[in-house]
Symmetry: C3
Subunit: 678 residues, 3 copies
Amino acid sequence: MDRILFGAAYYDEYLPTDRTATDMALMRDAHFTVIRIAESTWSTLEPRPGVFDFTHVDRALDAAEAFGLQVVVGTPTYAVPAWLVATYPEVLAVTDATDTPRYGARQIMDITAPAFRLHSERVIRALAERTAGRQHVIGFQVDNETKYYGAASRSVQRGFVRHLREQFGDDLDALNRAYGLDYWSNRVDAWEDFPDVRGTINGSLAAAFDAYRRGLVTEYLGWQAGIVREYARPDQFVTQNFDFDWAPGWSYGVQPSVDHFRAARTVDLAGVDIYHPTQSRLTGKEIAFGGDMARSIKGGANYLVAETQAQGQLGWLPYPGQLRLQAWSHLASGACGVMYWHWHSIHNSFETYWKGVLSHDLEPGPTYEEAGVFGGEVEEHAASITGLRKQNRVAVLVSNEALTALRLFRLETGFMFGESAGYNDVLRRVYDALFELNVEVDFVPFDAPDLGAYEVLLVPALYTAPQSTVDALRRYVQDGGHLVATFRTAVADEHLTVWDDRAPHGLTDVFGVTYNQFSTPDGARLAFRDGFAGGADGAAEVVLELLTPAAGTEVLARYDHPAWSGYAALTRNAFGDGTATYLATLTDLVTVRAVLADLLRDAGVWDWPQDLALAAPTVAVRRGTNGRGRAVTYLLNYSGSPVVLPAPVAGRDVLGARDVTAGQELTVGAWDLVLLED
Amino acid sequence: MDRILFGAAYYDEYLPTDRTATDMALMRDAHFTVIRIAESTWSTLEPRPGVFDFTHVDRALDAAEAFGLQVVVGTPTYAVPAWLVATYPEVLAVTDATDTPRYGARQIMDITAPAFRLHSERVIRALAERTAGRQHVIGFQVDNETKYYGAASRSVQRGFVRHLREQFGDDLDALNRAYGLDYWSNRVDAWEDFPDVRGTINGSLAAAFDAYRRGLVTEYLGWQAGIVREYARPDQFVTQNFDFDWAPGWSYGVQPSVDHFRAARTVDLAGVDIYHPTQSRLTGKEIAFGGDMARSIKGGANYLVAETQAQGQLGWLPYPGQLRLQAWSHLASGACGVMYWHWHSIHNSFETYWKGVLSHDLEPGPTYEEAGVFGGEVEEHAASITGLRKQNRVAVLVSNEALTALRLFRLETGFMFGESAGYNDVLRRVYDALFELNVEVDFVPFDAPDLGAYEVLLVPALYTAPQSTVDALRRYVQDGGHLVATFRTAVADEHLTVWDDRAPHGLTDVFGVTYNQFSTPDGARLAFRDGFAGGADGAAEVVLELLTPAAGTEVLARYDHPAWSGYAALTRNAFGDGTATYLATLTDLVTVRAVLADLLRDAGVWDWPQDLALAAPTVAVRRGTNGRGRAVTYLLNYSGSPVVLPAPVAGRDVLGARDVTAGQELTVGAWDLVLLED
Amino acid sequence: MDRILFGAAYYDEYLPTDRTATDMALMRDAHFTVIRIAESTWSTLEPRPGVFDFTHVDRALDAAEAFGLQVVVGTPTYAVPAWLVATYPEVLAVTDATDTPRYGARQIMDITAPAFRLHSERVIRALAERTAGRQHVIGFQVDNETKYYGAASRSVQRGFVRHLREQFGDDLDALNRAYGLDYWSNRVDAWEDFPDVRGTINGSLAAAFDAYRRGLVTEYLGWQAGIVREYARPDQFVTQNFDFDWAPGWSYGVQPSVDHFRAARTVDLAGVDIYHPTQSRLTGKEIAFGGDMARSIKGGANYLVAETQAQGQLGWLPYPGQLRLQAWSHLASGACGVMYWHWHSIHNSFETYWKGVLSHDLEPGPTYEEAGVFGGEVEEHAASITGLRKQNRVAVLVSNEALTALRLFRLETGFMFGESAGYNDVLRRVYDALFELNVEVDFVPFDAPDLGAYEVLLVPALYTAPQSTVDALRRYVQDGGHLVATFRTAVADEHLTVWDDRAPHGLTDVFGVTYNQFSTPDGARLAFRDGFAGGADGAAEVVLELLTPAAGTEVLARYDHPAWSGYAALTRNAFGDGTATYLATLTDLVTVRAVLADLLRDAGVWDWPQDLALAAPTVAVRRGTNGRGRAVTYLLNYSGSPVVLPAPVAGRDVLGARDVTAGQELTVGAWDLVLLED
C-alpha cells in the first residue's frame, strides 16, 4: 500500500440520526482514509431469521464512496442476536464458570455450536455478497477479538476427548501415564468414563483442554476466512482483529486463549487491537509490545491497528499531543494503518464511556482536531513511512503453553489458585527492560525454525516445551547464539510433566548450572559480581531457584540471604560458539535492565539507541527501512517535557522539513516526535 | 399527637418465658408510651396453614393495656413461614443473583407471587380483625423495610415486558431506539424473543427493570394498606418502616430499591428506620439525613422513627449520654416518635448481637436507665417539642433514577462494574457539608412541582432526568432561584440515553458552560479564584469534567494540573433572575463545605447557625416551630467534650428550666443538648 | 515400640519408572524404617469396578521387605475413581456451597452415600486381605484427613432431621423452643416441612447440623476400622491421619469438621498431619500445638506424625538444619514416629510443588541428606527417646462446639458473616503465649472427667457448653484449681441459646464479676494494676466485655478508654480452695504472655523452663520421661543464631555424647537442639 490506512470503526446503526454525510465530511477533513463497518451488528443486519436489512451497510458504503473513503467490512458474528439464542439456547456457551449462561454481552457464544455456525454462515454470505463488489471495499475482517470464551459444553468436551483419543492412538494407558492421572485416583480406564474436565485438578489435562480450545479458534477463523474468500476479490484482504491478554485493564501480554502464530495463518493481514493507559501513564510500551507481536506473527509484515483508543475509557482522555504521538508510535513499530475504536461515542447501552473520536455531542473536539493533524502529516509524508521493515538482532521466545502452565502451576503458589505473578508479568518485565534500552525485538514461537537469525534470544519462563525445543535451544547456543533464559525454563515436557532428570532439563551443560531446590524470596536480594550490572541490587521477586554452577561457569550474581548465599542467581556459560545466561529469579525493572544492558554489551549488539536510552530515558527509538528502501529513525518522546539531544544520525527531519546532520542539536517536544529519513 | 411516641418493638414470641407484666412495668417506669408487635412473626401467628394462634398477640395487647401503653400492630409478612415455602416453592424469589434460592432469612419472597399474596392476605385480615378494635391500638405498620429483593422470576420478567409493551405502545422499534438495543446485537424484534433481562449489558434496559420493580414495591404496600384500612378505625394510622441504602453498614443514603416519594403516598405516616455508628463515630449526620428524608417524603409532616438502635450491633454500644442525645436528635429533625429495635436482646437465632434496650440478662442496665431519662424529659416537656414544623430555605433534589444510572454507568469506571463512588457518596458529600454548616434542608424529587419554594436548590449528580426536569431547572433559575449542580447532571434522558447535543443538555446557557471532555482526576486539584472558598484547595476526586465557560460566566475555580489548567472546575452564571453554579468535580468534605459556604453567603441564606457552625463545629443546630407555634432551637453537641457558647437566641432553656438571654453564656455538655423555646 | 518410626509416604503409582529398589536403598541409607503406601490410589488399585491390580502394592511391599522397611497400608478411599462417579453421580457430595459438584479433587465424596460405602468396602477388604498377612506390615491407616466435606445432600439432611427427631423425642415444640425458631418465622410445625438447612439463619440449627456431620465422620472412621480389624493381626495398629484447621495456610488450630476426641476412639494410634511455615517463620508452635493435641486425644499416648513436610510447598524449603530440628521437635512433643509427605516430588497433576524428600530429579539432595542425619541419630539413641510420657500441670479446654458457635456468632461482627477473629485465633493466642513461656499443656474436651488432675486450667472463649460443664468448672475452682477463662465463656447453652441470667452464666460468684455490656475495642487499652504484667500495656482486640467486679474481687486490669474506664478488664477471685481469673478482652501476644506469666507464678506452677523462656526466648524446652523411666529435656533453638546458656539440669547430652552438670555452659546451635537425659 502506498498510503497509511487511517480511520475508525463506524456504526451508523448506533447513531441517533442519519449523519453519514456529516460524518464522512468530517473524516475527509481529518484526512481519514478508511472506515470499518458492520462488525457486531448482526441484529440490525438480520433483525429476524433470514430477513436481511442492508440499510445501514449500504448507507455507510455509499457515503464513504461519496467522500473518497475506503471500507473494511467486518462480519457481524462477535455478538449474537436475541432471536438466535431464543431459538437455539445451546448457542450460549456453557463455560468453565457456569452451566447457566445468560444472554446479553458479546462473545458469549459457543463457536462450535451448529446453530451458530449455520446462521453465521448465512449472514456472512449475505454480507460478503452484498459488499465484495464495491470498489472501495479494500478488505474484510472476520469476526472480532475471537476467543473460545471458556466454552466447555458437553459437545466441546466430547470433541476434546475425541481429540485426545486420536492424539494418543486410542491408548488410555498412554494418556494416564503422560498426564499422571493416577494421582488422586484420577485415572480413566474407559473413554466413556471421562469426567467433566472442568473439575479437574490435573494440570496436564487442564492445559490440554485449553490448547484444544485455542485450536478451535484457529479452525473457526479459518472457516470464516474460507467463506469470505469465496466472495472477495484478489485485491481485498482478509484480516482478524487479534487482541491481547487484558490485564490489569489494557493490552498487556500474550493472549491466553488464542495461538496468534497459528491463527494468523488464516488471514492475509494481521489486525490487532491495542489499548493502553495514557495521561501520566503513557509510556509507549503497550504500543510497542502489541506492534512487535502483530508484526512477528505474520513474519515481519506490516500490520493493521484495527482498533485503538481515541478518547478511550474513563481516565484515558489523551493530553494534548498524546493522540498524535500514539498514532506515530504505531507506525514506528511497523503498522500500515491506525484505526480508532470508534468514530462517535455511543449514547447508551454499555460502552457509553469508551469514547470515540467525537464526544456525545457529535461535534469536532480536541481529539478530532488532533487526529486530523496526524492525518494530514501521514498523507503528506506517505512515501517516508509506508512499507516499514525491521531487521532486528534480538528475539524473545513466547509460548501460550508456558502461559497456561504457569496459570495451573503458579509461580508463587505452585497451585492453580492463589495470587501470583504470571507468565506475562515475567515476559513484560523482560520486554519492558528491552524497550527502555531501545532494543527492538521480534517475537518467535517455541517451534520457530530459524532461531539462528538472531544474535540474542531471550527466553522468559519457558516452563513447558517439547524435547525438540530444548534441542533447538542447545543448537542455537552451539552455533554461536547468545541465549538468555530465566527461571522456570525447561521444567516440563509438552504435557506439563516435569522432567525427571537434572534441571534445567537437557541444558545443564549448556547453561553450566543445575538446581534441585527453589523457593520464594524470603527477603533474598541479588549480589552481583563486581563491575556487573552497574550498582543495581534488586530484591528477588516471585521465585528463586538455587543454582549450583559447574566449574567454568561465570557466576554473575549470588543471593544475598542468610541461608542461600552459597547459591548462584545469575550465571553465564560459554558453550559451543555461543553463550547461555540463566537468571534464576525475577527482580525489579531497573535491575533487569541493568543486567540486560551488560549482557547485550557483551553479546556485541549494543548500539547508539542503547546509549541514547541511558542519556534520554523518555525518548524511545524505533528504526527500520521504509518502502523506498531508506533507513528511518523515530525518536518518540513519552514525556510532558521536551528533550534536547544531539541527532544520533544524519537525515531528513521529515516533519520538521529540514536536513539534520549527525550530532546537531535536536529538540523532541513534549509528547512529540522527530522522524529522520536517511 | 400531643405527646411523643416513645417505645420499642416487643416480641413476646422470642422471650424465654412470659415476662409481659415485668416488661411492661419496666417500660412504664421508663416513660415508654408505645410498643410495636407482631411484625415478622407469621410462623407463630399462623403455625399451620389457616390455623391462627393469637396467644402472643393477645398477651402483649393485654399487658400493654394494663400498663397504659399504646400499640402499633405490624403485619407479619416480612418473613415467611417454612410451611408456606414448603408448599409453594415459588414464593421464594428467584433473583438477579440466583435461580436456586433457599429458605431461611427474612425478605426472600417474591412479593408478586400469587401464593404469597393469597396467604399474606389471609393472615393480615385475621390479625387486623383481631386487633383493630382494641382501643390502645393506635396504628398499623404494613410489612417492614419492604423492597423487591432482587426478584427476577419468569413471572416478574413477563410483567416487566408487558409493562414495556404498554409504555412503548407495542412499538418494539421505539423500544430498540430508546434503549439503543442495536448495540452488540441486542435488538429485539419479537416480544417473544425477549431474553432474560438478568444478563443484559444494556444500561437502559437494566434501569427500566429496576424502576419497574420499585413500582412493584409501591403497588404491594398499597395493596397491604388497602386490606388493613378495611379494618382500621379512622383514628388509627397506617405506616411503613422505610429504610435507606445500607452502606457501608448503616443507614447511608437514598434507598435504591424503593421510590420513597411514591411509596409514601400509600401510607398515612412515614415510618423510618435509622441506624448509625455511635461511640467515637457518632456525628448526627445519619439521624439528620434520614429524618430530613422521612419528613420530606410526606411533605414536611412529622414522621415516626419506627426503628433505631438501643445497644445496636457490636461496636454500637452507646457511650453514656449518647442514647439520649440520639433520641433528642430525632425529635430535632421532626420525628413524632422514637422506637427502639428492640426491647429485649434475643437469645439465639440470628440477630442475637443486635442488642435491645435490655441485655440478655433481661435486667435494667445502663441503656434502659438512659432511655428512661429521655422518656421522662419528653413526657414533661411534650408541649415544647411536639408538632415541630420546618421552614427550610434550601432543598436538595434526589433521584432514584440517577442512583440506578450511576450503578450502571459508574462514575469512576463508566461501566456497570468496578470499584467506584456512587450516587449516594456524592449526595452525602453535599449533604454532610450542609449538615456541618447547620444548613437544614428538604429533599425534593425530580418531578417536584414547587422548586420555587426554595431559595437555593442543590442538584447532585442528576445523571438522568426527563426533559421536563431540565425545563424546570431552567425555570427555577430564570425565576430567581440559586441552583447549584454537580458534575454528571443532565447527562442523559429518562431512558439513560446520553443527550446528543452540547452538555449539560439544555442548560449550557443557564450555567454558562459546556464541556465535551471529562476524565478521572489524574492528580488534579482545585485552584480557586482569589478570595473564594477561603483557602480550601481540595484534590479532585472521582471524575473531572473539563468546563469551557462562556463569556460572562464567573470562573470560581480552575484545575491545577499539567494538562487541564485551561479548563474551569467551578463556575457561576447569572441567568434570568437567579444564578446557576456548576461544580465539575468531587472534592473533599472540607473543600465542599468551603465552596457551599461562599455560595450560600452570596445567595443570601447565611444566618447565625452557619456562623455557629464555624465557631463550634461539634454543635449541630436544628430549628423549627412547635405545635403551639413557638420557635424552638436545638443545640446538639456530638462530642465527648462540653462546649461553651453565647446563646444564639433568647428563650426558655427547656431542659435547664431557666430563661436565657441572647448572648448569655451557655454550656452544652458532652453528648448533651440545649433546647431553647421562644 | 522400641524404635522411632521414620519414613515417608511412598507412591510407586506416581513414579515415572519402577525405582523401588533404588528408592528403598536410599531410604535404608537414610535410616528410614517405614513407608506408608496405597492411600489415595484407588484408581490404580481398582482400575475398573471389581478388577483389582496389586502391581504397585506388591512391588512396594516386596521392595520394602527386601530392604528391611516396615509398611503402613492406607485404605485408598480419600480419592474416588472416575468410574465410580461416572456410574453413581450421587457419590459426589452435594455441599453447603453447591448443588452441582464436579469430579476431580480428592475429598469430594458423600461419605454416607451407599454406592460409596459399597465400593469402599470392597476395595478395603481386597487390600486388607492382600496385605495383612505380610510380616512387615505394622499397621493400617483408614482413609486420610477425613472430614464430612460440607456434604448436605437430601439424604444427609434427612438423616439430620431424623437425628433431631430422636434427640427431641419427636417434640417439635421443644425443638422450636430450644433453637429459637420463632425468630423471623422460622418455626417448623411439621417434620415434613423442614426446609433445606443450608439456607438457615438460625445459629442453633446450623450448629446442630455441623455437629451431626462431625458425628458422621466418627461413624465412618469406625466403620472402616471395623472392616480392617477383620483382617489385621493383633500386632498391627489401626490409625487415622487427623489434620487441623487449615488457616491461614497451615495446621493452625482445632479441626472444625471432626471431633478429634470422639473420632480418636475408633483407632489404636492417633496419626496426625502437621504442616507449618519454615525458613524465617519457623517457630515450633505448630509442631507443639499439633503434637499436644494428637497426644491428648488418646489420653497422653504417643502418636504418629503420619504426614509432615519434607521440602513442602513453595516457600517452605527448609534452611539447613531446620528439617532435622523439626523432626526432633515432633519427638519432643511425644511423637513415636515422623513420616514425610512424601518420598518423591510428583511430576505432574496437582501437588507438583508440594515437594518430597527427593526433588523432581529423584536424586539425593540437601533435604534427603539432612533427613538421613536425623535418621541416624534416632536409630542410635532410640532408648533415650522412645516411649516419652508427659506429666503436665496445665491444661487447655478446647471445644469444637465453641469453634462452630463463633463462626455463626462471630466475635467481631456478631453475625455468621463478616471478617472476624475466630475461636482458633483466641486459642492460639493463649497457646502461643504458653509455648513462649515453655509451659507444656494437655488439651481437654468440654466433658473431660478429670479436670482436677491439673493445677491450672485455661478456658479460651468457651462460648457454648452444657450446664454440666459450667458445674464442672465451678467444682474445679471449689476444689482448689486455678481457672483462667477469657471473654465469651459460658455465654450460651449447648443449643447456642444465650443464657438469660447474669453473665457469665452460673459463674458470677466463681469469677466475682458480671457484665451486661460488651462492644468492640474502639481504641481501648489495658491498664494493669501496679506491679502486674510487668509493664505490658496491650491494646484491646476483637471484643471487650465491661466487667463489674464484686466486692473482694481483685481487679488486675481496667480499661484505658474515655467511656469505659470504670469497668474491669482482668479480674481474679478466690473461690473455694482455688482462684478464678477472667480476661474480658483479647490483647497482643506479648501482653497475654505477661499476664499468664504472673498468673502462673501466683498459681505456683512456675519452674525453670519459664525462667529460661525469658532468658533465651528462641529456645523451647520440652520435657518428659522416656520409656526407660529417665527424665529427658529437649532444648530446641528456633533461630538462625546459636544460643549459649547454663545447663538447666544435669544429665547426659545425648547427641553431644558427654555428661553435663547443671549450670555448665551449653551452646545450642542455630536451628539445632540439645537433648539431656537424666
